[in-house]
C-alpha cells in the first residue's frame, strides 16, 4: 500500500520525513501501513483500488510553529499536504486527501479550548477540539452556553465549519461556518495570518466582529485550500431557561405550501429552532394503491387515500427556546398563524421542560407523538449513536452498508420548490436508469440551513458491494449530479471522488468562479502544496490531475 507524493523522489521524500520528525518529534510522524490505516476513507467507493486516495505519511503537530515548519518543508520538497482536524468527515471523504500520496497534517493534538466567554457568548478553539471536548469543557465549568453540534459529535467545530457543516438548534447557530467569528491561519508560505479583528494586534473583539476592515478572506478557508486554520472563534447560543416542542400536521398535500411559508416566517423571526418536516403518509407505503398514486404524483388520489386512512399529508415538529411563558406564547402564536392559512391543521403539544434537561429527559424516546427528532442534538448535547446507521473498517469488515456517501442538493425554501424537486428527482432517477421505488412525493426538505432546504435524490444504490458495483454506482452518481445541475440543483458538500464533478456544475460564465479561485490559488500557493484539488480547485502544479478520478 505504501505510496509517495506524486513527482517526489524517494530521497526527497525521506528528507522531508526527517524534517517533519525534527519539527514534531519521532512519535508523531507516521508512514507504516498500520499507522496510515487511520487515515483512509473506509467508506470510499475506490477503497482498495489502485487509485484509492491514501496518504504517503501523516504528521501530527501540537503547536502552530510546528504547522508552519511542516508547510515550509512541504514547499521545499513540493510535498502536497492535506490537513485534517479529527478526520471524521465521514460520508464526505473522512480523512482522505484529494491527491494520492499527500502527507496528512493531523491536527488532533492541537486540542485546546482556548476560551469560552459565557457572557459575550463565544468560544475560541484549536482544530483538534471535538464537539464532545467543547461540550465537556462547558459542562465542567457550569457555563450557561450551548454548542450547536452535528450528529455524531465526534468531529471538530473547526473541521465541520470549514466543510460547511450544520447543526440543529436556532437558525443562526445551525450554519457552523456562518457562526464562526475570527480565525487564525497558516498560509501556504508558512506565514501566520488572523482574520477580522484578529488582524488588529491589540483587538479585544476578535470573536465579536468578524469583518475587520477591508475584504474578508474567511470564506476562502471554507472547503478551501488556501491555508491551515489553527484557531477559530465561534458564536455560542446562550442557554435558554426552557424548551418546548409541538407537532403540526396539515390534511391536504397542497397545504404544505402554506405550512412552509408560515414556518419560514417564524424561523426568520427567530421564534422557532430547527423545524423537522415529514409526512405521516409514510404509514401508507405498504398500501399498493397509495404507493402507485404517490409514485405517479396523483395528488387528488393521495389526498383521498390519506383522508380515508384518517391521516394528514405533511407534518412539522417545531421547537421553542426561551422561558416557560415565552415558549408557550410562541407555540400558541404558531398555532394561530398556521390555522389562519390551513383549515383543518392539527396541533399536538409536545414536551415542555426546564433547561438543562436531565440525562433521562435527553434520552427519552417516547413522547406525546411519534418523532424522529433526536432530542440530544436539539439541546446542543453531542452524541455518537447516530453512527450506528453505518460502518465499515479494516478490522470491522462486516458492513451493513457497503459505502457511505453524503450528497444533498440545495432546494428553495418553499413548498412549491419541494414539490418541483420531488418530481425532478423522480424524473432524473428514471432517466439514469434507476427509477425510484420510494415515492418522492412524500419526501420533504431538511432545514439544516436556515435559509434553504437540502434534499437528497432518494434512490437506492444496490449492489455496491463489489468493485464493479462501486464503479457503476459512481458513474450513476456523476450522471445524477449532471442532471441535477441542468435543472439548477447543486450540492453543498461532496467526497473527494465527486468534488471535481460538483465543482464542474458551478460553471456560470465559463467557470468564472473556479478560474477566480484558481488564480488566487496559484498566487497564494505557487507550489500548490495545500490540499490540491480540494473542492475542484487545482493549482497549476497539479492541474493534470483534474478529473483524474473519473477514470
Amino acid at each position: 500500500m505504501a505510496t509517495r507524493p506524486p513527482g517526489v523522489s524517494e530521497q526527497d521524500f525521506q528528507r522531508a520525513l526527517t524534517e517533519f520528525r525534527e519539527a514534531v518529534g519521532d512519535d508523531w510522524v507516521f508512514s507504516s501501513d498500520e499507522d496510515l490505516h487511520a487515515y483512509r476513507d473506509h467508506f470510499s467507493y475506490i477503497k482498495d483500488q489502485p487509485n484509492e486516495l491514501i496518504p504517503s505519511a501523516a504528521v501530527g503537530p501540537q503547536e502552530v510553529e510546528q504547522v508552519q515548519a511542516i508547510v515550509r518543508t512541504a514547499n521545499r520538497y513540493r510535498i502536497p499536504l492535506y490537513a485534517i482536524s479529527t478526520g471524521k468527515n465521514f460520508a464526505y471523504g473522512g480523512p482522505s486527501p484529494n491527491v494520492r500520496g499527500s502527507v496528512t497534517v493531523d491536527l488532533k493534538r492541537m486540542n485546546r479550548v482556548l476560551e469560552v466567554d459565557a457572557s459575550r457568548n463565544f468560544a475560541l478553539v484549536e482544530p483538534g477540539v471535538s464537539y464532545i471536548d467543547l461540550y465537556r469543557y462547558i459542562q465542567e465549568r457550569g457555563l450557561k452556553v450551548w454548542i450547536d453540534t452535528p450528529d455524531p459529535g465526534w468531529g471538530s467545530p473547526i473541521g465541520n465549519a470549514l466543510d460547511h457543516g450544520i447543526g440543529y438548534t436556532m437558525g443562526f447557530y445551525r450554519d457552523h461556518f456562518g457562526a464562526h467569528c475570527g480565525m487564525e491561519v497558516v498560509l501556504p508560505n508558512g506565514e501566520l495570518m488572523r482574520t477580522g479583528m484578529g488582524a488588529l494586534p491589540a483587538s479585544k473583539s476578535w470573536h465579536e466582529y468578524r469583518h475587520g476592515y477591508g475584504p474578508d478572506p474567511s470564506g476562502l478557508f471554507g472547503q478551501g485550500s488556501f491555508g491551515i486554520v489553527t484557531k477559530m472563534g465561534f458564536r455560542l447560543m446562550p442557554q435558554p431557561e426552557h424548551w418546548r416542542n409541538g407537532l403540526v400536521t396539515v390534511p391536504r398535500r397542497r397545504d404544505f405550501i402554506a405550512l412552509v411559508d408560515r414556518v419560514n416566517y417564524m424561523t426568520d423571526l427567530s421564534i422557532i429552532g430547527e423545524p423537522w418536516y415529514g409526512s405521516p403518509l409514510q404509514q401508507l407505503l405498504g398500501n399498493t394503491e397509495f404507493r402507485e398514486a404517490a409514485l405517479a404524483f396523483n395528488e387528488e388520489e393521495m389526498d383521498r387515500l390519506a383522508a380515508a386512512a384518517g391521516l394528514h399529508s405533511f407534518q412539522v415538529e417545531l421547537q421553542f427556546y426561551g422561558s416557560e411563558r415565552t415558549t408557550l406564547a410562541n407555540w400558541e402564536y404558531a398555532q394561530e398563524l398556521i390555522s389562519r392559512v390551513v383549515p383543518g391543521a392539527r396541533f399536538t403539544d409536545g414536551e415542555s421542560l426546564p433547561v438543562p434537561l436531565t440525562h433521562e429527559q435527553i434520552h427519552e424516546t417516547t413522547g406525546p407523538y411519534p418523532t424522529n427528532m433526536r432530542r440530544n442534538i436539539t439541546q446542543g448535547v453531542p452524541g455518537i449513536g447516530v453512527w450506528y446507521q453505518t460502518g465499515r473498517t479494516e478490522q470491522n469488515p462486516n458492513s451493513w452498508n457497503e459505502t457511505h456517501i453524503g450528497l444533498f442538493s440545495l432546494v428553495g425554501r418553499s413548498g412549491e420548490a419541494v414539490f418541483q424537486a420531488q418530481r425532478d428527482f423522480a424524473d432524473i432517477a428514471t432517466r439514469v436508469g434507476m427509477p425510484s421505488t420510494f415515492p418522492n412525493a412524500i419526501q420533504t426538505g431538511v432545514n439544516w440551513y436556515q435559509f434553504s432546504f437540502l434534499m437528497g435524490n432518494g434512490f437506492a444504490l444496490g449492489g455496491a458491494a463489489t468493485p464493479e458495483g462501486k464503479q457503476r454506482a459512481t458513474v450513476m452518481l456523476r450522471r445524477i449530479l449532471e442532471e441535477n445541475a441542468k435543472l439548477g440543483y447543486g450540492d453543498y458538500r461532496a467526497p473527494p471522488i465527486l468534488q471535481d464533478d460538483v465543482a464542474n456544475q458551478y460553471s456560470f460564465n465559463d467557470h468564472a468562479l473556479r478560474r477566480f479561485n484558481e488564480t488566487l490559488k496559484n498566487a497564494i500557493d505557487p507550489n500548490g502544496i495545500l490540499s490540491p484539488g480540494r473542492a475542484g480547485i487545482w493549482p497549476a502544479a497539479y492541474g493534470n490531475l483534474r478529473g483524474s478520478l473519473r477514470g
Binding site: 512519535d27 498500520e34 462486516n398
Partner: protein, 118 residues
C-alpha cells in the same frame, strides 16, 4: 490460563458487553472471574464513552476487551484510532452480529508507555 507455551495475554482493564446477547453475558461472567471490571451496553454507548472511556484513554490508552455488536466495535475502533489504539483481536461469535474483540495501544505507543511508566 494460557495453554502450553502460549504467551500470557495482557489482562484488559475493562470488558464491555452487550447485555442483550446471552453469549456476551456469559463472556462477561468469565471476565468477572478474571478480575476484570465490566461495563454493559445496549448498542448505544455514548454515556460510557463520555463518562469513562474518553477521559481514561486520554490519560492512559490501556487494553479494553468486549463482546458487542460489530456496529459498536466500529465506533469504538474509530474513537480508539484517535488515541493511537488499534483493534488487536477480533472474533465473530455466531451469526447475530456479536463480535468478541480486544483494543490496545498501537505498537509504538506501547513502547512509549513503558518509558513513561503509564
Amino acid at each position: 490460563m494460557p495453554a502450553g507455551n502460549e504467551p500470557a495475554r495482557p489482562q484488559p482493564g475493562l470488558f464491555i458487553f452487550d447485555e442483550r446477547f446471552p453469549d456476551a453475558v456469559a463472556l462477561s461472567r468469565q471476565a468477572i472471574l478474571d478480575g476484570v471490571r465490566l461495563a454493559s451496553t445496549r448498542d448505544v454507548f455514548t454515556n460510557l464513552w463520555y463518562a469513562e472511556l474518553d477521559m481514561g484513554w486520554r490519560r492512559t490508552p490501556g487494553i479494553v476487551a468486549g463482546a458487542t455488536t460489530d456496529r459498536t466495535l466500529h465506533i469504538l475502533e474509530t474513537l480508539a484510532l484517535d488515541r493511537q489504539m488499534r483493534v488487536t483481536d477480533r472474533t465473530v461469535i455466531g451469526g447475530d452480529g456479536l463480535v468478541c474483540w480486544t483494543l490496545g495501544p498501537a505498537p509504538r505507543h506501547r513502547a512509549s508507555q513503558k518509558v513513561t511508566g503509564a
